[in-house]
Every structure is written in C-alpha cells, then in structure tokens.
Symmetry: C2
Subunit: 275 residues, 2 copies
C-alpha cells in the first residue's frame, strides 16, 4: 500500500458545503477511498441509502461519529443516551464502519462533579459493550483536549483511556482513537501510546493553530500549526498501528468555508509533507 | 486564623483600573492583607517604592508573577530570559515575596519541538535555582492548562511538575503552584497532589466558565463555573498546605472591566461560599 492509500478524510471536514452523497462522490473523484461518517449527515440521507452510496463508491469506512455522551446525572437522560449509542452501533454495522467514535460526554447543566461524570461514562460504555461485540463493531473511545472536559469529554488523556480499557477488559472490542490535536501537549504521550499498543484503532490528524480562537471549532490544517504530527504518527505506528491516517478538521472560520475540492487537494498535498 | 484571613487577591485581578499603589491601598481598605504582585505593575512604580507601599500597608506578599519563560531555542534569547529571571528573584526578595511564579514558557516562533522546549525550561530553572536559594525566595513552578502549552507553558500537569521537582532535587527551594483553573480536569489530580505534599507553595482559585471564549483571558469568578474548588482545596490541604488561598482572575471581558471595589466585595462573598 502506498502511503497515500493510508489517507482517510472525515466527511465532517466538508460540513458546510457537502451533503453525505456529495462528500462520498467528491472523495472518490479525488481517489480517496477511506472516510469517516458524521452521523447527522448519515441521518439526512438515511442509513440504508448512505450504506449503498458508500458501497457503490468502494469506500472503506473508518469511524462513525459519535456515540456515547453518557454522563448525565439524570437517570432517564443517561439511559436514553445509552439507548441512542446502541442505535449508533447498529448504524455503524450497516455502513460497515470499523468503529464508533465514542465521546464520553462532558459535564451536564453546570454540574461540578467530574468524577461522577467519569463514573457514569464508563458505566455507559460498559452497558453497550456487548452490543458492539455482537455487532462486530469496535468502540473507539477518544480522549479530547482537556479544554473540552466541560463541554464534550471528561475523558481527557491517553492515560485515562488506557485505564478505562483496563477496566473494561475487552481489547478486541474497545479501542482508543488517538487525535493529534487532543494529545500533542501530553508529557506522558509516548509512554501511554506504548502502553496502548494494539488498542489504538484510529489516528486522527490535524493541527494546533497559534492563534486558536475557539475551543472546539478552530482546528488547523496539518502544517499550519505547531504539532509534530510525524513524531506522533511514528509513535503510534511503533506501537503496532497500521490503519488509516484520518484527516478530521473542525474549522468554522476557515476550512468549512472553503470549496471542498480545494480542501481535498490541499489535504493530499499536506499529507505528503506534514503527516 | 479565621478562614477569611487566608484570602489573598492577586493584583492582576484589577489589571485595567488600578495601579500598583491603588491595588495595595484598595485591598487594605477592604481588610485583605495578602496579595500577589504583577511584575509590570511593580516596574511602573519601581521596586523600592513598591516594597515600601506593601510594607506600609502591612501586606503579606505571596508570589511575584512571572519569572521563567525560558524555552527559546535561540541561545542568546534563552540566556536573556534566564538573566531576567535572576532579576525577578532579586525583586521578589526586595518586596518580601514568598515565591516567584515560574512559567516554563511555551513554544517559540512556531517551533514544533515540545520536548526540546521542556528540556530548555528545566535547564533554565536549574540555572536560577542557586540564586533563589541564596535569596531565600522559592521558585513556584506553575503548570498551566494544556490549552496554553503552545502560548505560555509546556509545563502542563501536576504530574509533570512533580517530575520536574524530582529532577531538580531541592524541595526547599522549588515549589508547585496549584491553580484550580489549570488542573481541575486532570484525572491524576488527587494522586499528584498527594505526591506533591509539602512541595505545594500556593493555591490559586478561580473558575472555568461554560462559555469560555478565550484561551488565556476569560477566567471566571469562583461559583460562576464548573470547578469543584472546595474539593481541590481540601486535597491540597490534606497534602499539608496551610498557606493563603489566592484569587487570581484574568478576565478581559468581565472582571477587568468592573469597578475593583465591587470586585473585592464579590470575591469576599464568593470566598465564603465557593472556596
């Protein structure tokens, strides 16, 4: 496999301009045959039709984003998030995704109880684990950057992800999604990547901009920021990972505003130099 | 000592409205006799005069902010930051500060070499350690929130701060500044506070706002955000810390705009309920 064949692009990177179908067609037109699916776009087209479009274009599906968000202290809300994650697992199986990207969820309604949120998230993942095993879909738990602890993910570090995997005790079904943006700052990164080893089920690449203006939607294109992406990729591959390198850029001010065909051309160029 | 006597307020909290002298007079007027000094304000009034104003108002000085920022890959720039930190140590001794707040510094000029920056920061601190010992001033190394890794501090966690203290090997001179804003998200927090024990030389309190709009200058007043401050304070005190609780709020959009007398009244009120 050439290195370019390792390139995957998450369809959320074209959030503002392309529908589900347009993103699959667009990627195929540029010779990119790996993608990740953004659930709101899949719901727009419908799961059966979305699966057909992916199949018709010979598209390999990495992850389906997102499942989880199971931190609510309200028992009914928590259960409804668990049930919804079961649906995401089914959908992932229908589109042939390797894994569901599992976000723990953040703090809900101004709660100050991080530990409680962590306990509930872990319990929520444990609840859906048998469903994932049954469906043959991995649960890719993804630590996000600690600045999103309140908003999206009380799972904040690779070390914590490894601890959760230890606790869940099923490395065939539970994997870890490594996102350069989320982990680059972590002084324990190299050690925890080594510890994760075959647990790593995805590598997301994008960059940290010096003038970051938004906590969630201001990620940069590889090469435009300060992350030493090749060193993280090399550590992840040193730990045994051989899967796709997936570009995933949440960028309200820049990349979401651009013509997606241009974005793909730039990604392919940057991938050669900066990943 | 009543609990309110533990209250310290950093003069940077009044950055936009009060000079050095006004902040000392203002705090004294409200019966707050502990403060931290913001070096640019000290430089405005002059160190000798600043020391006199503090002494005249019976003010106990916790920290002088900031020394360090010793990450430059340019040897001359690095040396000049080390030399400047020596000056900060002298100034801290002159104003009777307990410690210099030491920020490691971030990445410089788009460098992607976090590990190199960390090595240089640690070497810079080692360089000034004898000066601090000689001057009888502690070096309070402060991990900042990981979202400031690029901009201000490649020292990102309590665990890393403990590792640095282990390496530096002089717990009499090198301490750790715990800031609730920087550490609240950390899954290893309780363990690393315990590990730090008597190394902890300061506790900064302020809050994480749900609608955080800026990485550096949008901190919240205690009670307005999601940090469980009492649990962090309790862990820090469980580890042996008996010093001041220092309110330090960088807030361009809100608290820096308000009348400082009002800010102090609110701080005293919130301190009783939320710290």
């Amino acid at each position: 496999m050439t290195d370019e064949a390792r390139l995957a692009i998450h369809q959320v990177t074209f959030l503002r301009h392309w529908s589900f179908r347009e993103s699959v067609e667009g990627l195929a037109r540029h010779g990119v045959r790996k993608t990740a699916v953004w659930r709101p776009k899949l719901q727009e087209i419908g799961v059966a039709e979305g699966a057909r479009v992916l199949r018709d274009h010979g598209m390999e599906v990495t992850g389906l984003s997102v499942g989880g968000l199971v931190t609510s202290p309200d028992a009914r809300d928590w259960q409804s998030a668990v049930d919804d994650t079961r649906k995401v697992i089914e959908e992932a199986a229908m589109v042939g995704a390797d894994h569901v990207v599992m976000l723990s969820g953040g703090l809900v309604d101004g709660s100050k109880d991080v530990q409680g949120a962590r306990d509930r998230a872990l319990e929520g993942i444990a609840q859906v684990l048998p469903d994932a095993r049954q469906a043959g879909v991995k649960l890719g738990i993804e630590p996000l950057h600690p600045m999103l602890c309140e908003k999206r993910a009380v799972l904040c570090t690779m070390g914590q992800a490894n601890d959760w995997c230890d606790f869940l005790g099923d490395d065939q079904t539970v994997g870890i999604v490594v996102d350069t943006y989320a982990v680059w700052w972590d002084p324990s990164l190299q050690a925890e990547i080594k510890r994760a080893g075959p647990r790593i089920c995805a590598l997301h690449v994008n960059d940290w901009l010096s003038d970051t203006r938004d906590l969630r939607l201001d990620r940069g294109m590889m090469g435009d920021g300060v992350i030493d992406i090749p060193s993280i990729r090399s550590a992840v591959e040193g730990a045994g990972y051989r899967g796709p390198c997936e570009v995933e850029i949440f960028s309200e001010r820049d990349w979401w505003q651009r013509d997606p065909d241009e974005v793909i051309r730039i990604i392919k160029d940057r991938f050669r130099t900066w990943v």
